[in-house]
């Protein structure tokens, strides 16, 4: 057992004025988002820009669904990193394992919110999704089963992985002591206990791998199995979903790790090694994703049926072209940065963080472009092309969720060591 802690590490339990100000801002944005939801609940989804496919000329799935997919994707990174640490024993990742787990939990919470936002009957949803669950629906795979299972698994992870640190923090007197004691739940850090913990984590990691594959593939299937929506029906849908999930998740981890290193004292263990690893991972994922993108594009241009072409046209040169090309740019520029970094070792963090931000913006845009154009364009019966423009309510809801996520992470960092406490690594 390492030396007794004098005080809580990484600024836990200590909040500055600046921190509070930040939290106030985030809370305000989150509340605005919830106000949007209130409007939606009281006046109906008419306050969104969503409308029916067909004669009404709209898209019935929009921002909400795009962000559901995006959030699930981000959560992917967390659980993958956690799994990698356990299974492949990637040392470089150890310092960020807890961040990754926290990111997973938070983005899954946001996913649940986004799903609620998107349901016409949210409360019925909570009841009926379980009461009348239909495993045949890809929705079940993605949302009912996976999200709850996934959320459960990552919580267990976070819990198990944190017990040892909790035990150590519990030694420090203060308001949070009881909380740590509860978490530690009598953890004594004996060899036996250490082994038990790592065994449990290992098996959990093994169990999570198929869950991971199922989750992201079914997410792809939500779209990919729909013969009725040109542009969706594709075998590439599932793998490219997984890849983009990786891109956005890793990108987000980079950003969070950088923020932690900038703002939290005593985090020098987040060294270049960690960032190099993350940067290279992002580069590889990006390359693979871009490859898929090009393949998909070429197939839809050359072999695509009439209706498919309509969607492609709307993307490349029509209504959605600005978003599409912005999304492409936001993937290509980071890739260039990352390749440069790869050759110029030890380059500063700025370009890396910028890359992380950019790929996430791109992922949001890409999710939007997967969800929306196939509803407004290329309908199999010759309806007029439709249109969908999100309203301020939808923007507010999504911004609110992101702010809420950031707030959760920041609060978590004040409640619990955001990184494993030095010397407590086994």
């Amino acid at each position: 057992m390492a030396a007794r802690l004098e005080r809580l590490p990484f600024g836990v339990g200590h909040t500055s004025g600046r921190w509070k100000l930040w939290m106030a801002v985030l809370a305000a944005i989150a509340i605005l988002g919830w106000y949007g939801w209130y409007l939606e609940l009281s006046r109906g989804m008419i306050v969104t820009g969503l409308r029916n496919i067909g004669p009404m000329g709209g898209a019935t799935w929009g921002m909400d669904v795009a962000f559901i997919v995006y959030f699930v994707g981000v959560s992917f990174a967390g659980i993958t990193v956690a799994a990698l640490v356990r299974l492949a024993d990637v040392k470089a990742l150890r310092p960020i394992a807890r961040m990754a787990e926290a990111l997973t939990v938070v983005s899954l919470v946001l996913t649940v919110f986004a799903i609620m936002y998107d349901l016409g009957q949210p409360l019925r949803g909570i009841v009926n999704l379980f009461r009348y669950a239909r495993p045949q629906s890809p929705f079940f795979g993605t949302f009912t089963l996976v999200i709850s299972g996934y959320l459960f698994a990552s919580l267990v992870y976070l819990y198990l992985g944190g017990r040892r640190d909790a035990a150590r923090c519990a030694e420090v007197p203060g308001r949070l002591q009881r909380f740590y004691q509860l978490w530690a739940a009598g953890y004594g850090d004996t060899r036996e206990e250490q082994e038990r913990r790592s065994r449990a984590s290992f098996w959990l990691a093994i169990a999570i791998v198929p869950l991971l594959v199922v989750a992201h593939s079914t997410l792809g299937f939500v779209f990919g199995l729909q013969v009725g929506r040109p542009g969706w029906y594709s075998a590439l849908q599932a793998p490219s979903f997984v890849l983009l999930a990786g891109v956005s998740g890793v990108g987000m981890l980079i950003v969070i790790a950088a923020v932690v290193r900038r703002t939290v004292a005593g985090t020098d263990r987040l060294d270049d090694g960690v960032f190099r690893w993350l940067g290279n991972a992002l580069m590889i994922l990006l390359l693979a994703y871009l490859y898929f993108m090009v393949v998909e594009l070429l197939t839809s241009i050359y072999t695509g049926a009439e209706r498919e072409r309509e969607v492609t046209e709307a993307l490349l040169s029509g209504r959605y072209a600005p978003i599409y090309w912005a999304a492409v740019a936001l993937l290509v520029i980071p890739l260039a940065f990352l390749i440069m970094r790869y050759f110029r070792r030890g380059a500063g963090l700025t370009t890396l963080v910028a890359s992380g931000v950019m790929v996430n913006l791109s992922a949001m845009a890409k999710r939007f472009l997967i969800v929306v154009p196939s509803q407004t364009h290329g309908t199999l019966l010759p309806y007029q092309p439709g249109s969908y423009t999100p309203t301020w309510v939808e923007w507010a809801e999504m911004a609110g969720l992101i702010a809420f996520g950031a707030l959760l992470l920041a609060v978590f960092a004040k409640l619990f060591p955001i990184m494993p406490v030095e010397g407590s690594e086994s």
């Binding site: 989804m45 004669p55 709209g58 009348y132 669950a133 239909r134 013969v227 199999l380 010759p382």
Partner: protein
């Protein structure tokens, strides 16, 4: 158990859209909601222009993507072939809508009472049909009528409230040209079966494998040449 289906004779249809209105009044659907939609097409260039029409109800597919994707079984296939929506169970995810290749689903974007064209004193319009509140089928589920509740999906029900009483659906009953025919496809003497024997038939988007219960005779499906005209601007 009958196997209900509809046959639409495009040689007779005049594109008058009376069926759309019959449906609206019978099923009490709110503004901008058309369970039946009649396409009007223009094809070819002047002076070789052709104008033709194509009504489009829900296809009540035998292999219905909308049924497959519903996470809660609110959208289901009845034994007699009707694809129904249980408006008490629907959670409003609109997955059926994105899954349907035909664009026939409509969602209640707001309180239907606010969307009955002219504000009515007691919310529901004076012509609201009380039959729509009843449960139907052996399973006694509430599946009739539109404008049920904000946040649930709806679509053509094949007028279950009429069909169970032995009546033709409203659109079929009211079509001035008798271009729509409804009945038991298993009964060789039913009007749709007879019409199917008389004329060559096709179904819409056969290639996507939905196995529609709605058949068309006369003319053909829309082609790449078919430009929609007089599109109804059904936006709320």
């Amino acid at each position: 158990m009958p196997r209900y289906g509809m046959v639409i004779d495009l040689d007779r249809c005049t594109g008058c859209r009376a069926c759309m209105e019959s449906c609206k009044v019978e099923n009490n659907t709110p503004e901008a909601t058309f369970w039946m939609y009649v396409f009007r097409f223009e094809e070819g260039e002047y002076p070789d222009t052709r104008v033709r029409f194509m009504p489009r109800p829900c296809m009540h597919c035998d292999n219905a993507p909308c049924v497959k994707v519903c996470p809660v079984g609110a959208r289901y296939k009845r034994e007699d072939g009707l694809v129904a929506t249980d408006w008490e169970r629907c959670i409003g995810c609109r997955y059926c809508e994105v899954a349907c290749p035909y664009g026939v689903n409509t969602f209640n974007w707001t309180h239907p009472e606010e969307q009955y064209y002219l504000g009515w004193e007691d919310g529901a319009p004076p012509w609201a049909n009380p039959d729509l509140n009843e449960p139907y089928g052996d399973e006694r589920r509430r599946i009739a009528g539109g404008g049920r509740d904000e946040g649930v999906i709806e679509k053509c029900t094949f007028c279950v409230q009429r069909v169970e009483q032995g009546l033709d659906p409203a659109c079929v009953h009211g079509c001035p040209l008798k271009a729509l025919v409804f009945g038991d496809l298993d009964d060789p003497e039913s009007p749709p079966s007879r019409l199917l024997r008389k004329k060559e038939a096709f179904r819409l988007l056969e290639e996507v494998g939905t196995e529609p219960r709605v058949h068309y005779v006369g003319g053909g499906p829309p082609s790449e040449n078919s430009k929609q005209i007089d599109a109804v601007e059904a936006r709320v």
